[in-house]
Symmetry: C2
Subunit: 356 residues, 2 copies
C-alpha cells in the first residue's frame, strides 16, 4: 500500500451493547485521531445506521459507506451457532471485507466468541499457530504493557501459553517498540518461585526458560506487575487475563469517581482542583483503559472493542485498527512466522522434555 | 470471653519477606488501631526479635511475649514439605497457640501454602467444609466487597466454588454486615450470560441458582464489578482471585504514584494539591488495599498478611485478626455450620443434577 492511499476500516456497526448509536458516533470521534486518511465500511442495518449518520458532520458521512445486512449475531449466541448461522451478519461481513482485501482491518464490539470463531474461519491462523489470542495494551508506570490472552480462550494449555508469548512479543515489537531492545516477556502466576502455580503455567515456564526461543523471557510475574510495567509482554490464559483487565478497568473508574467526589467535597478542595485541573486532566487520560483488544495469530487485523464501550472507547478501538493497518504489523507477523514456527517446534520439544 | 479480658494475637514474627523488622514494627503500629486491650505472642528467633523490640516503646514491649524457636519455614517450601518438617517453626507455633486456646487468632506473612496446610492440620476444617479459602476485603464504591478465594487454592471445582460462596456469605455477614440485609453473592466470570465461562463456573452457577441454599445469589459478575461493589461477596478460584487482587493493588499503587507526580508537575498543580491535601489524604486512605486476607473454613481465626507488607500493612492484618477475635465471627461460623452443611448437601445434589 502506498503512503497516500486511504486506509479502509471495516466496522461491525451492529456490534456492542448499543449498536449504531455508539459505533457511528465512534467513527465520527475517531476521524480526528487518525494519522492517515481513512474510509469506513459500516456493516449492518441501513435503517438503524442512517439516522445515526444523519447526526454526524457531512465530512464524516462522506468517509462512510453503509453495507446493508439485516442479520446480526446476538450477544448470547454460542460460537458454534455463530459459525453455522452467522453468515451474512454484520460481524461476519466486517471480517469478510478484510479477507477479501476491501478493508485493511475490522472492528467489532460484538460477541467475542463469535468474532474469534468467524475470524479464525475466514482469515485462518497464521503459520503453525493453534488459537488466536486477544492482546490488550495497558498503560503502566513505564509505558505500555501488552497483556494476552484477555478473553479469546477460557482455558489454555502450556503449548498455547508459549504461543501467546511468541505472538505477544511479535505484536509488542511491531506496535510499541520497533526501535528499542527486544521486548521482555513474563508469565502471570501467583508467585515468583519456580514451583508455584498451576501445572500448565509451570510447564510453559520451563519451555520458555529453556532458551530455544530467542526471547527475553524474565520468568513469572504477578498481578501487581501489570500496572508496574515490570515486563513489556505479560502472558496468561484468557479467563485470568479477562478478569484482570476488567478488574483494572473497574478500579480505574472507581478511582476517577472517587477523585471527582474528593475534589468537590469542600470549597478548599474545589479551589485546589481548579488550580490543578490541567494536570488532573492529563492524569485521567494516562489512566484510561485501552479501547480495544487485538486478535493475534490471524492473517489479518481484527480489533475487538468493548461491548459496553462509549463512543470515545469505540473510537480508540478504530484508531488501533487504523494504526495497525498502516504499520508494518502484518508484514512483521508474516516475516516473523518462519522464526516463530521453528521456535514453536523447539518450545514444544522443550515442553515435552520438561513434562517427561 | 468477657469484655474486659485482653485479646491475645499470636504472631509468626519470622514470616514475610523481611521478618521481625516488619512484624515487630507492625505490632507496634497496630496497638493504636485496636479497639480492645490486646497482647501478642511473638513466635520466632529471640536473637532477631529482641533488637527490634528494643526499638519500640516500653508500653508496646510490655504487651509482647517472645516464644523462641530457631526454626522457620522458607518462602519456597512446598506445603507437603512444610507439613513434614515444619513442626516447631514460627509459623507452626503461631497456629498452635490458637489451637491450644492460648491465643484467639494468628497472623502470618509467611508461605501461603504452608500456612494453609498447617492451619488445616492443626485447626481442622469446620463442619463438612472441604478446603479453606482466603477472603480479602476490598474497598468499593459502595463499601466493602469480600472476595474469595484469593490464593488458598490454585484450582477449584464447582462444589468448592459453592463452598466458597457459603463461607464468604457467613464471613461477610459476621464482619461487614451483621445488622443489614443478607449479603448478596456473585460468581466471577468473563460474561454475564448463563452459557459463558469455564465448565466448573457454569456448574457452580447452576447449583447456586437452584435456590436450595437460602442465599441472595445474583449470578455472574465480571472483574469490573469488584471495585463497583455490585455484590457483597464475589466468589472465584484462588488463581484468578489472587491475580485480580494483586492487579488491583498494583493499579492502586500506580494511581497513587501518578497522582503524586501529577500534583507536583507545576507550581499551579502544587498549589492546588496543597489546598486539596486534606481531601486527597482521605481519598488515598479509601483506596488502600486490605492488609491481609482471612483463612476461612477453619475452627479458628488465621490471617495471612502480605509477604511484602510494610509495617502499616502488617498492622492492618493484626487489626483484622484482633477485630475478628473480639467479634462474634467464630460463634457466627459455628452457629451457621448446621445451616451451612445441610445447604452444602443440597448444593451438591443440585450440582450433580445440573451436570447430569
Amino acid at each position: 500500500m502506498t503512503e497516500s492511499a486511504p486506509i479502509v476500516v471495516s466496522v461491525d456497526a451492529m456490534g456492542g451493547d448499543r449498536g449504531p448509536s455508539v459505533t457511528v458516533a465512534g467513527v465520527a470521534a475517531a476521524v480526528d485521531l487518525l494519522k492517515r486518511p481513512t474510509r469506513f465500511l459500516l456493516h449492518g442495518d441501513r435503517a438503524t445506521i442512517e439516522p445515526q449518520l444523519a447526526k454526524v458532520s457531512p465530512a464524516v458521512r462522506a468517509l462512510c459507506e453503509v453495507r446493508h445486512t439485516d442479520r446480526k449475531i446476538a450477544a448470547d449466541e454460542k460460537p458454534s451457532q455463530a459459525l453455522r448461522r452467522g453468515k451474512g451478519s454484520s460481524l461476519w461481513n466486517a471480517v469478510e471485507s478484510v479477507r477479501g482485501g476491501e478493508a485493511q482491518s475490522a472492528v467489532s464490539g460484538g460477541n467475542t466468541g463469535a468474532l474469534m470463531a468467524i475470524s479464525k474461519l475466514l482469515l485462518r491462523m497464521a503459520g503453525d499457530l493453534d488459537r488466536p489470542a486477544i492482546v490488550a495494551s495497558w498503560p503502566t508506570a513505564k509505558g505500555v504493557t501488552s497483556v494476552l490472552d484477555v478473553g479469546a480462550n477460557l482455558v489454555s494449555d502450556a503449548t498455547q501459553l508459549v504461543e501467546f508469548a511468541i505472538m505477544g512479543e511479535a505484536f509488542h515489537c511491531a506496535v510499541h517498540g520497533a526501535d528499542g531492545p527486544p521486548p521482555t516477556v513474563g508469565l502471570l502466576n501467583v508467585g515468583s518461585e519456580d514451583m508455584k502455580g498451576r501445572e500448565e503455567v509451570r510447564e510453559a515456564h520451563h519451555a520458555l526458560r529453556s532458551g530455544g526461543l530467542n526471547m527475553d523471557y524474565r520468568g513469572f510475574v504477578e498481578g501487581n506487575d501489570i500496572a508496574h510495567g515490570t515486563v513489556d509482554v505479560i502472558v496468561t490464559d484468557g479467563f485470568t487475563g479477562n478478569v484482570a483487565l476488567k478488574t483494572g478497568e473497574g478500579l480505574a473508574r472507581f478511582v476517577s469517581a472517587t477523585l471527582r467526589e474528593t475534589l468537590t467535597s469542600s470549597l478548599l478542595a474545589k479551589a485546589g482542583a481548579l488550580l490543578a485541573s490541567g494536570a488532573l486532566r492529563q492524569m485521567r487520560r494516562r489512566l484510561e483503559p485501552p479501547g480495544g483488544g487485538v486478535l493475534l495469530g490471524l492473517n489479518g487485523v481484527v480489533v475487538k472493542a468493548h461491548g459496553g464501550a462509549e463512543p470515545r472507547g469505540f473510537a480508540d478501538a478504530i484508531r488501533i485498527a487504523a494504526d495497525l493497518a498502516s504499520s508494518d504489523y502484518a508484514s512483521a507477523i508474516t516475516n516473523n512466522m518462519a522464526r516463530l514456527s521453528s521456535a514453536l517446534e523447539r518450545a514444544k520439544a522443550a515442553a515435552l522434555e520438561a513434562s517427561a
